[in-house]
Structure formats: C-alpha cells, structure tokens
C-alpha cells in the first residue's frame, strides 16, 4: 500500500470518526435528563448549590471566630447585592480571556470594600454547561458577556449587559474604567 493511500485512509477514518462522535454526542445531549422540566431542575440545582456554599461559608466563619476566641456575631446577608457575571463558552479565545481578566481586576482592585462586605460578587459562568444554558435567553447573550445583576433581598431587581466591553477591550484602562463606573452606579443605586 502506498503512503498516499495510507494517508487517505487515515484522514477518511478521522472524518468518519468525527461525524459519528458529533452525531452520537448530539443525540445523547438531546435525550439527556435536562430536556424535560429543565428549567425547574436547573433552578433547584442552583438553589441547592447556593445553599451548600452559604452553609459552608457560615461554618468556616464560625470556626474562625471560635478559634480566635471571639464570640460569633451575626453577619447578615446584605440587603442589596451586585453580582458581576462573566458569561463565556467552553471554547475560549484570547480576547475573551483578556476581557475576563480585565473585568475581574477592575472590580477586585477598585471595589475591594464592596467585595469584602459581600455587596459585590464575581461569577464566571460557562453557558455551554447544561445547567447554565438558560442564562442565554434570560440575559439575551449572543457572545461572551459581562452582565451586572442587582439583587434586592435575594430577588433580581435589575440587570445590565455591558455591551461596550467588545469595543473597549483593546484599551485596558478605558475598559476597566467603564466596568468600574457601571458597577459603582449599580452599587450606589442599590444603597
């Protein structure tokens, strides 16, 4: 068998394997448990995850206080809370990674107090994960996006997709100023 024939056969097998893998993967994801009643399941899963995280955080905080010999104090959840969501897909591009890094840096460096008091939270979310797909329609996501969501007593009060991030990503300081200013506006609105 000639080398040309071997290369041809290997490539054809690779193409066939790709097509079969693609079709099987798609049919599996369509017939998966997330089809029926997906939203309900997703919301329940999210709530459970949040509750588990809160319980763990509370436990850790009590332990730290006990270890330091201080009496545990009530640390109430802030009435207003701003969540900065960075939505992305599984396949990351360099621009998207840069955008995520700039946004997180802008918020953590310049709004540290809000982070420490729990008024501001950063969440990076992959919208290709089945449990996160609902965010696409909820916030009208067409690409990687930075969305500010203001919560009042745990309920979403308002949200904003910072659409200028794509336009400004080439200008680090312009981008960071934009993100910080938008977050500040929301934090002031909430207070």
């Amino acid at each position: 068998m000639k080398a040309k024939d071997i290369v041809t056969m290997v490539l054809l097998l690779f193409v066939a394997a790709s097509v079969v893998y693609l079709i099987v993967g798609e049919s599996r994801s369509r017939s998966g448990p997330n089809e029926a009643g997906a939203t309900g399941t997703v919301v329940q899963a999210e709530l459970k995850q949040v509750e588990a995280e809160q319980a763990k955080a509370s436990e850790d905080s009590s332990k730290t206080l006990e270890e330091s010999g201080r009496l545990p104090e009530e640390a109430p959840e802030p009435q207003h809370k701003l969540i900065a969501y960075y939505f992305h897909r599984t396949q990351r591009c360099r621009t998207c990674l840069t955008m995520e890094a700039y946004a997180e840096e802008a918020l953590r460096d310049e709004l540290l107090d809000a982070f420490e008091s729990g008024e501001l939270e950063w969440r990076a979310v992959n919208v290709e994960e089945p449990e996160n797909e609902h965010f696409v329609e909820k916030y009208g996501l067409t690409a990687s996006a930075l969305v500010m969501v203001l919560l009042e007593n745990g309920e979403q009060k308002q949200s904003k997709n910072l659409e200028r991030v794509w336009e400004l990503v080439g200008d680090e300081w312009g981008f960071k100023d934009y993100v910080r200013d938008e977050a500040l506006t929301y934090l002031e609105d909430g207070s």
Partner: protein
C-alpha cells in the same frame, strides 16, 4: 451615517485581525492566493470571497431584523454547530485539492475528478468559502457582529449597507494578504521561470493547510481535546 459606515467597516477589520479566526483566515489566504500564475483569478477569487462573506452577514442581519428569531438563539446555534461541521468539511476539501480522493459524478463525466471541478469552480469556491467562514462564528466575531454591528444596524435602520460593509471589513485583510503573497510568489517564480511548479506547490500547500485546519477544528470543537 458616514460615521456608522466607518464603524461597521472597522468592526469587520477588528473581527478579521482578532486572534480567534486566525485558522480560517490562513485557510482563506492560501485558497485565494493559490493560483499564483494568474493574478486575475486571485483577484476574482478574493472579490467573490468578500462577496460571499458580505452576503452571508446581510442575509443573517435581514433574518434577525425582519423575523422573530432571537439573536441569542441564532448566535448560540451558529457558534455551537458551525465550528463542529467545519472540521470534516475542510478535511474533505483539502483531500480533494490534494487529489487524495475523487468523487465520481453520475452520468456524463464518470471518473471526472472532483478536484478538477474544485479547481474549475476556482473563483466560485471563494464565494462558498466566504459564506461558510462568515457563518463559523468564534467568540470574538460573534461579539462584534451580534453585540456591536447588529445594534448599530438597528439604530441606523440599515440591515443591508452596514452588514455589507462589515463583511467587506472582515475580508479586506485576508484579500490584501492573498494578493501580496500571490504577487510576491509570482515575481519569484518568474525570476526563476518556474511559475507552473510554484502553482503546483501552492495547491499542495493549500490542501495541506485545509487538512491541518480541519483536524484542528475537529480536535477543538468535536472531540474537545484542545
């Protein structure tokens, strides 16, 4: 409106020079510039590639503006499926360009090589490539098209002109590079009187690039190992 036209073109150029469509841009440059001995064919292929891209963006914008289809759903679906389908397509086209496979056409030209047809389509292959590559959105191109261009088109009520200019912008750097490479190669080929040999190599290089880019797309988007 002039400012919006400039913005649309610039958004297209930004899309083209951002790192994420690099693989498809390399494939497009090699496809457009492969007929190094025939600058007219290179120019015609480049123009049709530009037209293909522009038309794809115009039709998509018109569909989004005039129907109830939601931009997030369309964007999500295109990003999810087009890149997955693109890998196997590029490998098969690369194999045709390298004469590794032939497709027998029923009736008439039995045994006629598909690769000859691909070569014969030549410039029209550029159009098809433009349409397919335009619809293979990566995160940066989706962000700039759906997130910046579509809102601009809605604001200026221009669902044809602005997407058209965006398409021209996305093709411009690719077209320019292809012309420069073709002219440079032709000049060297003429100097050594080996144009035909250069064309033979250019076609082999194009086929190899298509296969490599196709394998990359399969590994990254189908098998998700990259």
């Amino acid at each position: 409106m002039v400012l919006a036209m400039g913005s649309a073109t610039w958004l297209g150029i930004l899309t083209s020079i951002s790192p994420c469509p690099l693989a498809t841009n390399i494939a497009a440059i090699s496809f457009i510039g492969r007929r190094v001995g025939n600058p007219k064919a290179v120019a015609a292929t480049g123009l049709l590639y530009t037209l293909g891209r522009s038309l794809a963006y115009v039709v998509l914008a018109a569909i989004l503006v005039s129907t109830l289809l939601s931009a997030p759903t369309v964007s999500h679906a295109l990003q999810k499926y087009m890149n997955k389908i693109l890998g196997p397509i590029l490998i098969v086209v690369g194999m045709l360009l390298l004469d590794l496979i032939q497709i027998k056409v029923p009736g008439g030209g039995v045994g006629e090589k598909m690769s000859k047809q691909v070569e014969g389509w030549g410039i029209w292959g550029g159009f098809a490539l433009g349409v397919v590559f335009a619809m293979s959105f990566c995160p940066a191109s989706a962000g700039l098209y759906f997130g910046s261009l579509i809102p601009l088109s809605v604001k200026y009520e221009s669902s044809i002109l602005l997407p058209l200019l965006f398409g021209v912008g996305t093709a411009l750097p690719v077209f320019t590079f292809a012309i420069l490479i073709a002219l440079g190669t032709q000049a060297v080929g003429r100097a050594y009187e080996r144009i035909t040999q250069f064309e033979w190599w250019a076609r082999r290089i194009t086929g190899t690039i298509f296969i490599l880019v196709g394998v990359y797309f399969c590994l990254a988007f189908v098998f998700r190992v990259l």
